[in-house]
Amino acid sequence: MAPSQATHTPSLEKLVKSLKGQSLEASIEALIFLLKRRQVKGDECAQATAHILRQVVAKARWQDVDQLLSQIQSAGSRLARAAPHEPVIGNIVRRVLGLIRDERQATIPIRPSPAVLTSTAGLQVSKSMFNLLSVAEPDGSPMTGGSTPLSQATQPTSVHTLRSEVMDGIEEIMDEIGQADDQIASFADIQIHPGDFVLAYQPSKTVERFLIKAASRRRFTLFIAGLEPFTNGTSDAPYATLRKKLSAAGVNTISLSSNGLMAYIPRVNKVILGAKAVYQNGGLLVDSGCCIAAQVAHEYLKPVIALSPVYKFCPEDPSYDVSRGWLGNPSTYVSYGNGPEVDAIVVENTVTDYIPPELVDVYLTNLGPQTRHHIASILADHYKTEDLAFSMQLD
């Protein structure tokens, strides 16, 4: 684990730095390359996607809103296809598409019939209602919408303003991504109480930040589970920096080098998980093995708290691939040098798990703790109905 983390962090940085000097096409290809090699993964995917889409807005050739939408859609779906196991890419694409649609309504006068105007400027609900009605095309592409011909006159100036508005919007999304972990961490002392035994499964950056924040306010004991068996005591201990920071704050950590977790769960008060994605049914996409942590906690009625920034909430249902787990390279576990008898064995190394919604008690987002019932309204607030079908355009 450790060496790959060390190499993929600079990859994203390098990519972002290279964006200025490169052509748009080269930048997109560069990210696709990194995604396919899983050198950009997890939280970085969101940031990287936003960067690339910003480049699309800045550099791609487009004359009006619809061309921009389709440019974003095509670049976005190329990225999403490069890493189908990272649904957060699709979320960012949808967010940007929604942003552009908002700008269209705000900046381009659609020779207003007063009724429409009031409804667009009005409540959030009526706005999405408007969108719902305005896109009747079954294929989900609003290319032929009535706005284009009407607004042609104002095009030259509006392209310029639209570009800067959308880029500002993307920057806001990037800020949101950057701040989400801190915002989630600010809820730490509500969730973690003095004397708790907390189990964290392969703590992600979000979870680490949360735990460190909690340690500044509370004395608790942390179990870290889900370590790779290859990192034995002699090499650099996993999560060394996290452990050091926690122990400086007076929090004990115990690294469980264990496959099963049932043995420890009687000691544990709560389980903290970092989600890779939250689906609209409330199910979670998580690292492989994480599901067992949620299952044992559920059996013993210990709360399962899933940390997930809002941008990881996907307006779709988990696919078959998600619910059975994405498969990874098995050669880390079995050497094919072992001979022909190994050849005939099917080795499945799943790299993701799916946690069904009934095993999750709290979704802790940057907007605060949520329950399963709030997910629908969070999704409605962040995505436009027209863009929900985005993932279906992948195939």
Binding site: N259, I345, V346
Partner: protein, 337 residues
């Protein structure tokens, strides 16, 4: 596999153990020179192998112990003015047992067998001639090894193999002797079925099992860890598990991770069958969690790297237990001892 390397500092091997697990025992290496002078060389060797986990599962430990005790009995001579029935247990047998327990906490099968052996010695009349008593003890040990281990294994594998249906998918965790015997036996009887092996990456016993099953032509799906467990148990028709012991309340003591698999399977509606010899049953002790009777992995015993060897599978996660005497629900074998 387990490397026979232990921390160089032997004295405070327990010092790094987190406080909340400080009550759990742990195997430790004792220099043969530090052992009690009365410990028989055969027992010394067995003790070393147990401390280094060369002898790991309960049955191989029981077997080795009994064979070593056989040597102890053979070389035993009653001192003048004593009788075997009075002298043997406190002065000869107990130091051996103490040493073995120091090397690694006794498993439940060893506890049972030693209790039976002591009862056997105590039953001798004070005037029983030494040769006769020794002969009887040796015969009893042979009987125990044959009936409770060899024959039990045969019967359990036969009964369990019969419960496998054509086209089944059997899921198992790690490696257990009885499960391997069962699967190979079922295959040899002409049944076609698949096996899913969920391995423990800290033990990797499942990999060896996978190869041996593959060699007899069984379709094997191998998963190196508990990742993706939920869909895998749901796809299986039966789960076969082996274990170290079954307690009086019907819960199973087995390698860590077994309880996770059993729980996931039960929740997915898949049957969980435990294979276990009755010598492993403990009808006095009760265990409701993994922190009551357990052992710390001596290679991972600090806060940086900690592992319990066993876990406790509640009997609600067990559909049935197959023993050499009978098959039944999680609780019924407790009466079968």
């Amino acid at each position: 596999g387990r490397r026979p390397s232990m921390p160089a500092v032997e004295k405070d091997a327990r010092s790094g153990i987190p406080e909340c697990f400080s009550h759990v025992p742990m195997a430790k290496r004792i220099q043969t020179s530090q052992a009690h002078k009365d410990v028989h060389p055969a027992v010394l060797a067995v003790g070393q192998q147990m401390a280094t986990f060369g002898l790991k599962d309960s049955i191989s430990r029981l077997q080795a112990t009994m064979l070593a005790f056989r040597k102890v009995i053979e070389s035993y001579e009653t001192p003048k003015g004593n009788s075997l029935s009075r002298h043997f247990v406190p002065h000869v047998l107990n130091p051996q047992i103490e040493y073995l327990t120091e090397c690694r906490p006794m498993c439940f099968a060893m506890g049972n067998a030693i209790r039976l052996l002591k009862a056997k010695v105590n039953k001798f009349d004070i005037n029983t001639p030494e040769d006769e008593a020794k002969e009887e003890l040796l015969e009893w040990i042979d009987y125990l090894l044959h009936e409770r281990i060899a024959l039990a294994e045969f019967v359990i594998a036969r009964n369990a193999a019969q419960s496998i249906n054509e086209g089944d998918t059997i899921l198992t965790y790690g490696w257990h002797r009885l499960v391997e015997k069962t699967l190979i036996r079922a295959k040899k009887s002409g049944k076609t079925f698949g096996v899913t092996i969920i391995d423990d990456p800290y033990e990797r016993g499942g990999q060896e099992l996978a190869k041996r099953l593959r060699q007899v032509g069984i379709e094997v799906l191998y998963s190196p860890n508990l990742g993706g467990l939920r869909p895998k148990v749901a796809a299986a028709s039966n789960v076969f598990l082996g274990g170290e012991a079954i307690f009086a309340n019907g819960s199973l003591n087995a390698p860590s991770g077994t309880a996770d698999v059993a729980m996931a399977a039960m929740n997915a509606g898949t049957k969980v069958i435990v294979l276990c010899e009755t010598i492993n049953f403990d009808r006095e002790r009760v265990s409701v969690d993994a922190l009551t009777y357990n052992e710390i992995d001596p290679e991972r015993n600090t806060a940086d790297n900690f592992r319990l060897l066993f876990d406790n599978t509640h009997d609600k996660y067990i559909t049935g237990v197959i023993t050499e005497f009978e098959s039944g629900g999680g609780n019924s074998p407790a009466q079968a001892i």
